[in-house]
């Protein structure tokens, strides 16, 4: 299969959906500008025309309502925002209308909208450019919430999101955009609501999402060498959540760590720990754990973000302690990269 970046996979996903269905349109601030939202919307206007692909006024709330109105007449909008944080201005339209429209009018129509929201992190993104609010969105009945990790999943889940009859919040982590992986060409779809076992293991289940899954895989590689076999479950969909896969894996290993890229209190990880504890308590050999962001806004300075994020080392320490094994030397073996606030050498800023 061809190797592509996550950003290219997103671009292909939108183009494929627009090819398949001429009622799909794509808009958002900067969608047609020279940067094309980190390249994810490049060439779409040229290919599909200005009627279907367009820039928009700086009006997140109204433009979400516009997507709802258009959806009521069969238009499927893919709306893009450069950061999740800007989209908070649109919560009235998202929560009061998009999420409930199908329900509150007795199921007579629906609003097929895909809202792409990009999560920032590091490089001074700071308190208002880095929030992981998937738990908020998942809390609202009627919304689907998708968080791909791999380029392949990004494309397959995006096409499914666009063609889904419901509003979908599609969260892309900025640190994944330049990751490379195998991505099928053409019309490639993955079902929403299905988790993926990224790595099979015997001793402990690590449930994760989005960029945290990358850290989980690094931790699992390290722990394998220490004789601990981790099963890594990538949720892919936060709502609906694939409880069957989470339960099956936890029952198999008897231990659970839930990771979250968002704040700890009220997190998706907290929900996973709660549900597993309630429904599979007897299968657990240890109290379940969660690792998420501290309940602190992400600071800006590189000095303040040192040691701030949950990393592979934190996961490995937690896993080893749950296995009653020594946690010495981990920080030396899994040291924080320097600089720690970029996803890789390719990242030169500014955003």
């Amino acid at each position: 299969m061809p190797q592509k970046s996550f950003a290219t996979a997103i671009n292909e996903g939108i183009a494929q959906a627009m090819d398949l269905d001429d009622s799909v349109i794509c808009y958002g601030l900067g969608v047609t500008d020279p940067k094309a939202v980190f390249g994810t919307t490049a060439s779409l206007e040229k290919r599909f025309g200005a009627a279907r692909v367009f820039d928009m006024p700086t009006s997140e709330n109204a433009m979400t309502g516009v997507a709802i109105g258009a959806a009521l007449n069969g238009i499927k909008s893919v709306m893009t925002h450069q950061r999740v944080d800007f989209f908070l201005l649109a919560l009235d339209q998202l929560v009061n209308s998009a999420a409930k429209w199908h329900y509150m009018f007795g199921g007579q129509n629906s609003v097929p909208i895909t809202i792409r929201l990009i999560i920032g992190r590091g490089w001074g993104q700071g308190p208002t450019h880095s929030q992981n609010l998937q738990a908020w969105f998942a809390h609202i009945p009627g919304l689907k919430v998708v968080m791909p990790t791999t380029p392949e999943d990004a494309k397959g889940l995006l096409i499914s999101s666009i063609l889904d009859p419901n509003p979908v919040v599609f969260l892309e982590h900025r640190w994944l955009h330049n990751s490379i992986g195998e991505v099928p060409d053409g019309d490639f779809r993955l079902p929403l609501g299905k988790a993926k076992v990224m790595r099979e293991g015997r001793d402990i289940t690590i449930v994760s999402m989005s960029y945290m899954t990358i850290e989980a895989l690094h931790a699992a590689d390290y722990l394998e060498k220490q004789g601990v076999s981790c099963e890594v479950v990538d949720l892919r969909s936060i709502k609906p959540l694939d409880w069957e896969t989470v339960f099956a894996s936890t029952v198999k290993t008897g231990r659970l760590i839930a990771l979250d890229s968002g704040f700890t209190t009220g997190s998706v990880a907290g929900e996973i720990v709660a549900r597993v504890a309630m429904e599979k308590f007897s299968a657990l050999r240890k109290a379940p754990a969660r690792l998420a962001m501290p309940d602190v806004p992400e600071p800006t300075s590189i000095a303040l973000t040192k040691g701030f994020y949950v990393r592979a080392a934190d996961i490995a320490i937690k896993v080893l302690s749950m296995m009653d094994k020594s946690v010495d030397y981990i920080n030396a073996d899994l040291s924080e990269p320097d600089p720690h606030d970029v996803p890789g050498d390719w990242f030169k800023g500014p955003f």
């Binding site: 349109i25 009627a51 279907r52 928009m56 006024p57 009006s59 709330n61 109204a62 433009m63 979400t64 309502g65 516009v66 997507a67 709802i68 109105g69 258009a70 959806a71 009521l72 007449n73 069969g74 238009i75 009235d92 339209q93 009061n96 209308s97 429209w101 199908h102 329900y103 509150m104 009018f105 007795g106 199921g107 007579q108 129509n109 629906s110 097929p112 009945p141 009627g142 689907k144 009859p165 419901n166």
Partner: protein, 320 residues
């Protein structure tokens, strides 16, 4: 105005008033177990709208949306049943008075959040532009919605994208119990403010039949012909309380004198007086009233005798 137009407008205004008066009459029985926002006193605007609009055109409205639903041709039985929470309701009991819909006449929904349906109406206009039909999209809103940011966002997008949308603002002076004086500076013209955003505007006295009818008809034709947005402001007045069936002139937010002054301008009363001056029309006016009362009574019977939804249906339709 032709005699037939006068009669049609009388019939439409009378029907809307009679339906809302019947809701007010039955509301204390406690069977309509949801908030209702009546627009008794404001019937002229939806009635002139109804005369000029096509079933294929789109419309959205607000929490005070009964009259707009009816004016667009929405099914009366389904509306009353919805307010009663019955399974035969237009939203199957999921929406109530504040969430009315009738897709058969492209009445696309109403919202309980001030300003919330404005961009949705603009989005419908965008869909019309993309699909290249000759429909227009109409957005009913009140003066309170002018104070919401989403109003400006929506008008701006309609203007920049040149969308066939007609904004119909019913300025009844109050947002719940808050008068315009605490919400907007004295002397402001809402219409002029919108005009500065590059949108054609029109203003009419919403108590004046000829002025309102003429402006509405011309504006609907204009939006259809040019495909450009237009904003209309009608002055009007709600007779009853913000939410509920009663009169509320005694609670102190408005004076009885102000209320009586507006009530004396009632276009429905004046039109009826004008029509029955012609002896040959008296019978027709009586017939219209009698037919409306029969229709209204039948709608309440329909609602009363319809079944409630099954309890498990509360869990249906979360996702499409």
């Amino acid at each position: 105005m032709t005699e037939s137009l006068s009669i049609n407008l009388f019939a439409k205004m009378y029907r809307i008033r009679a339906i809302e008066e019947a809701i007010a009459y039955h509301y204390p029985e406690g069977k309509m177990r949801c908030p209702v926002h009546l627009s008794i006193g404001q019937e002229l605007i939806p009635s002139v709208f109804s005369e000029a609009i096509r079933p294929t055109d789109f419309a959205v409205s607000t929490h005070r949306g009964h009259a707009h639903y009816l004016a667009k041709g929405g099914n009366l039985n389904a509306m009353i049943a919805e307010i009663y929470g019955k399974s035969t309701g237009c939203s199957k009991g999921k929406g109530g008075s504040m969430h009315l819909i009738d897709l058969a006449v492209n009445f696309m929904g109403t919202s309980a959040i001030v300003g919330n349906s404005i961009p949705i109406g603009v989005g419908l206009a965008l869909s019309v532009q993309l699909r290249e039909t000759d429909q227009i999209s109409c957005v009913f809103l009140g003066d309170g919605a002018i104070e919401e940011g989403v109003f400006y966002e929506s008008v701006n997008f309609a203007a920049v994208r040149k969308l066939p949308v007609l904004f119909i603002c019913e300025n009844n002076l109050y947002s719940v119990y808050s008068p315009l004086s605490v919400r907007q500076p004295a002397g402001r013209s809402i219409a002029n403010m919108v005009k500065a955003m590059g949108v054609e505007v029109g203003v009419a006295d919403g108590m004046n039949i000829e002025a309102s009818q003429g402006l509405m008809k011309r504006s609907i034709e204009r939006v259809r012909k040019t495909g450009l947005p237009c904003f209309l402001e009608f002055s009007t007045y709600r007779w009853r309380e913000h939410c509920g069936h009663a009169f509320d002139n005694e609670i102190g937010y408005r004076t009885p004198e102000e209320f009586l002054d507006w009530q004396q301008k009632d276009p429905l009363h004046h039109l009826e007086m004008q029509l029955i001056e012609d002896l040959s029309l008296q019978g027709l006016v009586m017939d219209i009233k009698s037919n409306v009362m029969n229709e209204v009574n039948a709608a309440f019977d329909f609602a009363e005798t319809s079944p409630f939804p099954n309890q498990h249906e509360a869990y249906d339709n979360v996702f499409a």
